[in-house]
Symmetry: C2
């Protein structure tokens, strides 16, 4: 991967959106450093940098719910990426298919039906 | 909107993904502060905070290529949001439909056909 096009922030991170390759659904967003991007490219499994644990984090390495990466996209100004993925299970630690299961409804966050 | 569920970073910002409500295509990602989120909710047009210009930024206010917001979603840990939108024109300043028009291909960023 050409990392010179990636504009990492002051902490050496960029947000990376995981999007279901089949449905287009946005599954999660997390932060990646250069090593996470290179690991993702090499191993084909969506990998980020855990800011809380301060370690490389391949999604599903513990739970088995990995995200197989089909493509890596970059935006026009290089400060955000997309992993288009094939999920092997729920992406969210709550057991939901996606981490985005709440919508703003009359000023409150309501669970979306069917997620 | 219940802003208490939103985990803004040290700069008071969260990344917000704009996703085409009809096609699921991810159009762009930018940063929003509390005022940008409230403005989006009130006016129904996708609004962010421009970090370079240091001002509230309603996408398309100059170009006319606004993003009409149908829904605002939040993720499980509250540090990323989605605007699901109906675009009135190209989302990218390059004239492309989406800012994500390049993919990693053999170590280089290649334009995606058809975008």
């Amino acid at each position: 991967m050409d990392l010179s096009a990636v504009k990492f922030d002051d902490n050496g991170l960029v947000p990376v959106v995981a999007q279901d390759a089949a449905t287009g659904e946005i599954l999660m967003v997390a932060w990646a450093n250069a090593e996470a991007l290179e690991t993702t490219e090499r191993d084909g499994l969506a990998t980020w940098w855990s800011r809380s644990r301060r370690e490389l984090w391949t999604k599903g390495k513990t739970s088995g719910n990995t995200l197989k990466v089909r493509d890596i996209l970059i935006d026009c100004d290089g400060d955000t990426l997309i992993y288009t993925v094939e999920p092997s299970g729920p992406a969210c630690h709550t057991g939901k298919r996606t981490c985005f299961f709440r919508r703003n409804e009359n000023g409150a966050w309501s669970d979306i039906a069917g997620l």
